[in-house]
């Protein structure tokens, strides 16, 4: 199940040029880390459940993912941030159900970061942090929200 929304390009693009400037990339990354920690302050968050470095310790710097967190034993989140390409900014979300380690349910949010896509991402994360939210409920929420 997936939802995709196109927002107006006239919106403010956040952390523009993040893929070409490591300083902006790091600011962008820290922004997500703080935001996710703030939203999930009641959860026992485990940052970087996915590897974002090659074997020689060189980081990807491609926003794919820009952050990932394990939020409990089997549930995780992954944020993929992309450069704006078209006339409108996009946000997509889906639940990945494949198994890696103990993770069996992962909320994936892929977006071009603007004020409106950020707001939607926060809503999705808040819903997913709630341990009472089932996969089916989350998938319905994604479709209805975006």
């Amino acid at each position: 199940m997936i939802g995709t929304l196109n927002a107006s390009k006239s919106e403010r693009l956040l952390f523009e040029n993040f893929l070409n400037d490591k300083r902006i990339y790091t600011l962008n990354e820290n922004y997500w880390i703080k935001l996710i920690r703030k939203i999930g302050s009641e959860n026992n968050l485990n940052q970087d459940w996915l590897n974002r470095k090659f074997s020689n310790n060189v980081k990807f710097y491609d926003g794919n993912p820009i952050v990932s967190f394990k939020i409990n034993e089997n549930r995780a989140i992954r944020i993929i941030q992309e450069e704006l390409e078209g006339e409108t900014s996009e946000i997509s979300a889906w639940i990945e159900k494949g198994v890696i380690g103990t993770i069996t349910e992962e909320l994936v949010v892929a977006l071009e970061l603007t004020d409106s896509t950020k707001s939607i991402a926060i809503e999705l994360l808040e819903k997913w942090y709630d341990k009472n939210t089932t996969i089916q409920e989350m998938e319905e929420y994604i479709v209805n929200r975006i």
């Binding site: 995709t4 590897n51 090659f54 074997s55 020689n56 997509s92």
Partner: protein
């Protein structure tokens, strides 16, 4: 022991969305080399119709670039999930998943093949 557990290095390439779900997995005792990974990606592409491939061509290109880049940097260890979306589509994409072990290493013999 489960059959799949005897292989230390596992993962898959996947193309999905728009009623398509095709994948090329690997499960082996040695890390997957870049050359073999690129062959698996080509094998996956061959499973797709021309139309399904064309819409994902850019996403496949990004996946190939990531595999090659990993090869230049000693490969990559589990856990890895990368999704290359088709911009403007609802759910069309190409995924890379390293589920166990190490992948996309350069093999000295690869250059000779």
């Amino acid at each position: 022991m489960q059959k799949e557990d005897k292989y230390e290095h596992r993962g898959r390439f996947q193309a999905q969305g728009g009623d398509l779900e095709e994948s090329e997995p690997w499960a082996q005792s040695e890390p997957l080399t870049v050359v073999k990974a690129l062959r698996l990606l080509k094998k996956l592409i061959l499973k797709l119709t021309k139309k399904d491939y064309e819409v994902r061509e850019k996403a496949f290109g990004k996946a190939e670039k990531f595999v090659s880049e990993a090869g230049k940097n000693g490969g990559i260890f589990v856990p890895v999930r990368k999704t290359f979306r088709v911009k403007g589509s609802k759910d069309k994409r190409v995924d890379i998943e390293v589920q166990s072990g190490h992948a996309f290493i350069k093999d000295e013999n690869d250059n000779k093949k």
